[in-house]
C-alpha cells in the first residue's frame, strides 16, 4: 500500500513537472512566434521610370462678372464686367459693406475681418486684384492673395495638409488635382458654411438615443 502511494506521488510529481516544462517552453515559443506574422506577398517591382506626374491646382473662374438683376430676351440674366461701371466712378477706400452703396452689391454678405473692398480689389484696374504692396494680381492667382495674410494655412497647403484633393498619393503613378482657396471659402465671407450632415448611422437593435441625440443626455 505504501509502495502504491509512493508510485502515485512520483507519478504526480512527474506529471506536474512535465506540465511545467511544456508550459514554459510554449510560453517562450509564443514570445518568439509573435514577430512571425508573415505578411502577404509583395507586388513585383515595376520597372517604371521615375516620372513625376503634375499636381494641378484648380484655377478660379477668372475675371468675375456682376449680375444686373435684369434678364435678356432668352431669359438669361444679364451680367456686366466690373469695368463697365467702375471705370467712370471714384473709388471709395472706406467702403466695408455692400449696404452702404447706392446701387449694386447691396446684398453682398461680407464678413472677412476688418478689410475694406479695396484692400483686395484693385481700384486702378477692377479686372485684377491688389496685393498688400499695391501690385496687381490676376484673378486666377487668388491663392497668393490669400497667402499674404493666412501664412499658416498657406504653409499647410504647401505641405499637403490643408485643402481637399483628388487623384494620386503616389505622383509616380499619376497626377493630382488640388482645390484652391475659393473652392471652399467664399472670399467675402470665408468661414466654412454650416451644412447638414449626410448619412447618419442606422440605429441598431438595443440602441436608444435621447431627444437631443446625445450619447449622454
Amino acid at each position: 500500500m505504501a509502495g502504491e502511494a509512493r508510485i502515485g506521488k512520483i507519478a504526480f510529481g512527474g506529471v506536474i513537472a512535465l506540465i511545467g516544462v511544456v508550459f514554459v517552453g510554449v510560453l517562450v515559443w509564443t514570445w518568439l512566434a509573435r514577430n512571425d506574422l508573415k505578411p502577404g506577398p509583395k507586388a513585383e517591382e515595376p520597372s517604371t521610370p521615375a516620372v513625376i506626374h503634375p499636381v494641378t491646382i484648380r484655377t478660379p473662374a477668372g475675371i468675375p462678372r456682376v449680375a444686373t438683376g435684369e434678364v435678356d430676351s432668352q431669359g438669361q440674366p444679364v451680367t456686366i464686367a466690373c469695368a463697365t461701371c467702375h471705370d467712370t466712378r471714384q473709388p471709395n477706400y472706406e467702403t466695408r459693406s455692400g449696404t452702404t452703396l447706392k446701387d449694386f452689391h447691396q446684398g453682398l454678405h461680407f464678413a472677412h475681418g476688418n478689410q475694406s473692398c479695396l484692400s483686395c480689389h484693385n481700384a486702378t484696374d477692377y479686372d485684377t486684384l491688389k496685393q498688400a504692396d499695391g501690385r496687381p494680381l490676376e484673378f486666377s492667382q487668388t491663392l497668393m492673395l490669400c497667402a499674404q495674410c493666412h501664412g499658416p494655412q498657406f504653409r499647410d497647403y504647401q505641405n499637403g495638409s490643408h485643402g481637399g484633393m483628388q487623384g494620386h498619393w503616389d505622383l509616380t503613378r499619376g497626377g493630382r488635382t488640388r482645390n484652391t482657396c475659393t473652392d471652399c471659402h467664399d472670399p467675402h465671407h470665408p468661414a466654412y458654411p454650416e451644412v447638414m450632415p449626410v448619412f447618419p448611422p442606422k440605429m441598431v437593435r438595443g440602441e436608444t438615443i435621447t431627444p437631443h441625440g446625445e450619447n449622454h443626455p
Binding site: 438595443g206 436608444t208 435621447t210
Partner: protein, 426 residues
C-alpha cells in the same frame, strides 16, 4: 473463442491479447448501447422531452445559419451574447467536476472513489456542450476545418482561442480515456492498472485548472475591454467554477439516489465533502467579487463605467440590472444557507443553496460578465443586449443535448460501476 475462459482467473491480471479486447470491447459497447436505450417510463419521457427541446434548438440553428446571425440580438457593438456567456459558464462546470477528483485521488478519500466518475462524466457532457456553443456562435460553421491543426491554419500559440481548442479537446479526450478505461475494466471485472489511469487523473486535475484559466485569458488579455482586463478574472473563474460544479453534482447525486432507489445512501460522504468545498469557495468567490466591485467603483473612470452600468444602469439603460441583482441576492442567500452547521444532513437547505448558487454563477459569468464587457462599446456608444428568441431556443437545445449526453453516460456508468453488470456471470 471463449471469452469466459481467458478471464477465468481474475486474481492475476494477465495481459490480454488484442483479439481478446476486440471481442470483449465490442461486447462492452453493445452492453453500453443496451443500457443507454433501456429504462423506465420516466427515463423515456425525460429523453423525449429533451429530444423535443434539442429539435427546436437544431431547427433554430439551421435557420440562423441560413439567414445569418442577424436573427440573434447581437450587434457590432455587443458582438458576443448568450452563446459565449453559456460557453464560459459551462467550461467552469467542466472544470468544477474535478472537485470530485482531487479529494478522491490526492487525498485518497474513499467515499469519493465511488462517485468520482459522476464528476468526470459531467466534464465530458460539459465539454460537448462547450464545443456546441462555440459552433453555434460561428458565422461560418462550414469552415470549421480551418481551425483544425495541420488541416487548416491553426494560429497557435499566439491566439488564445487556439489554446482553448487544445485544452477543451484535450480535457475531453482525457476524461473519455479515464472514464472509458475504468468502466471497461469494471465491466471485465478486473482491477484497473494504476499506470493506465493514475497519471491521466493527475494530468486531468492540472488540465481542469487550465481549461478555465485559458478561457479567462480569452477575455482578460484584451486591453481594449477594461471590464475584462483584470488579472483577477482567471482566479474568479476558477473559484466560481468550484461553486457551480459541486452544486450541480450534489443535486445529481441525490437524483441518482432517488432513481436507483438504493438505501445504501450512495454518495453520502461525497455530498458532505462537496458541501464543505462549496462553503469555502462561495465565500472566496464573494470576496473576489467585492474586490472587483471596490476597484471599479472607488477608482471610477473608464474601468468603472461597465460595472456601474451593470449594477446601476446608465441614463435609462439598465437591461442588465435585474440579472445581476438576481445573481447577487442568490449568491448571498446561498452563502448564508451553506453556513448552516451539518448542512449535509439538511438536504433541503443544501439543495436550495445549490440551485441558487448555480443560477447565480450562471448569470455572473454570462449576462453579468460577457455582456457588460461590450457596454459601452470601445467608442463609448451605449447599445444594450438582451437575447433573442432564436438565441434562447438554440441555448435551450444545447443544454437539452448536454443533459441527454450526461443522462446516457450515467445510465451506462452507474450499473457498470455498481457491479450489477459485467462480462462475467455472478
Amino acid at each position: 473463442m471463449n471469452v469466459n475462459d481467458t478471464t477465468a482467473n481474475p486474481a492475476e491480471p494477465e495481459p490480454h491479447d488484442a483479439r481478446f479486447h476486440a471481442t470483449s470491447y465490442m461486447k462492452f459497447l453493445r452492453l453500453a448501447f443496451r443500457l443507454a436505450t433501456e429504462g423506465s417510463w420516466i427515463f423515456y419521457l425525460w429523453m423525449i422531452v429533451l429530444t423535443c427541446i434539442a429539435l427546436v434548438g437544431t431547427h433554430a440553428w439551421a435557420v440562423q445559419v441560413r439567414d445569418g446571425m442577424a436573427v440573434t440580438a447581437m450587434t457590432d457593438h455587443v458582438s458576443w451574447g448568450l452563446y459565449i456567456a453559456n460557453f464560459t459558464f459551462i467550461v467552469g462546470l467542466a472544470a468544477g467536476g474535478v472537485m470530485m477528483v482531487i479529494p478522491a485521488y490526492i487525498y485518497h478519500d474513499r467515499d469519493m472513489h465511488d462517485t468520482v466518475i459522476i464528476g468526470e462524466l459531467l466534464a465530458i457532457a460539459s465539454i460537448v456542450m462547450c464545443l456546441l456553443f462555440v459552433v453555434v456562435d460561428l458565422g461560418r460553421p462550414d469552415r470549421f476545418w480551418h481551425i483544425m491543426p495541420f488541416v487548416g491554419k491553426f494560429h497557435w500559440p499566439v491566439s488564445m482561442l487556439t489554446w482553448d481548442v487544445i485544452v477543451l479537446n484535450g480535457y475531453l479526450l482525457l476524461n473519455l480515456h479515464i472514464c472509458g478505461y475504468l468502466l471497461y475494466k469494471r465491466f471485465l471485472g478486473e482491477a484497473p492498472d494504476r499506470k493506465w489511469y493514475i497519471p491521466f487523473v493527475f494530468l486531468s486535475i492540472a488540465w481542469a485548472i487550465s481549461i478555465h484559466t485559458v478561457t479567462a485569458f480569452l477575455y482578460s488579455g484584451l486591453g481594449g475591454r477594461p471590464f475584462w482586463n483584470t488579472a483577477l478574472l482567471a482566479p474568479r473563474f476558477l473559484t466560481s467554477a468550484f461553486v457551480a460544479g459541486p452544486a450541480f453534482i450534489i443535486v445529481v447525486l441525490q437524483i441518482i439516489r432517488r432513481i436507483t432507489k438504493t438505501k445504501t445512501k450512495i454518495g453520502e460522504g461525497s455530498i458532505r465533502t462537496l458541501a464543505g468545498i462549496m462553503r469555502i469557495t462561495i465565500l472566496i468567490n464573494l470576496l473576489m467579487l467585492v474586490s472587483e466591485i471596490f476597484t471599479s467603483f472607488y477608482t471610477g473612470g473608464a474601468h468603472g463605467v461597465s460595472a456601474k452600468y451593470l449594477y446601476f444602469g446608465h441614463h435609462g439603460h439598465h437591461a442588465l440590472m435585474p440579472w445581476i441583482w438576481t445573481s447577487a441576492v442568490f449568491m448571498i442567500i446561498a452563502a448564508v444557507l451553506l453556513l448552516r452547521p451539518r448542512i449535509h444532513e439538511h438536504l433541503w437547505t443544501l439543495d436550495i443553496a445549490c440551485v441558487l448558487a448555480f443560477i447565480a454563477i450562471w448569470i455572473e459569468k454570462g449576462m453579468g460578465l460577457i455582456i457588460p464587457g461590450f457596454i459601452p462599446s470601445t467608442l463609448h456608444e451605449w447599445v444594450e443586449y438582451l437575447p433573442s428568441a432564436t438565441e434562447w431556443k438554440i441555448t435551450a437545445g444545447i443544454w437539452a443535448g448536454g443533459l441527454m449526453v450526461y443522462t446516457l453516460l450515467l445510465k451506462i456508468a452507474i450499473p457498470v460501476f455498481a457491479g450489477t453488470v459485467s462480462s462475467r456471470k455472478p
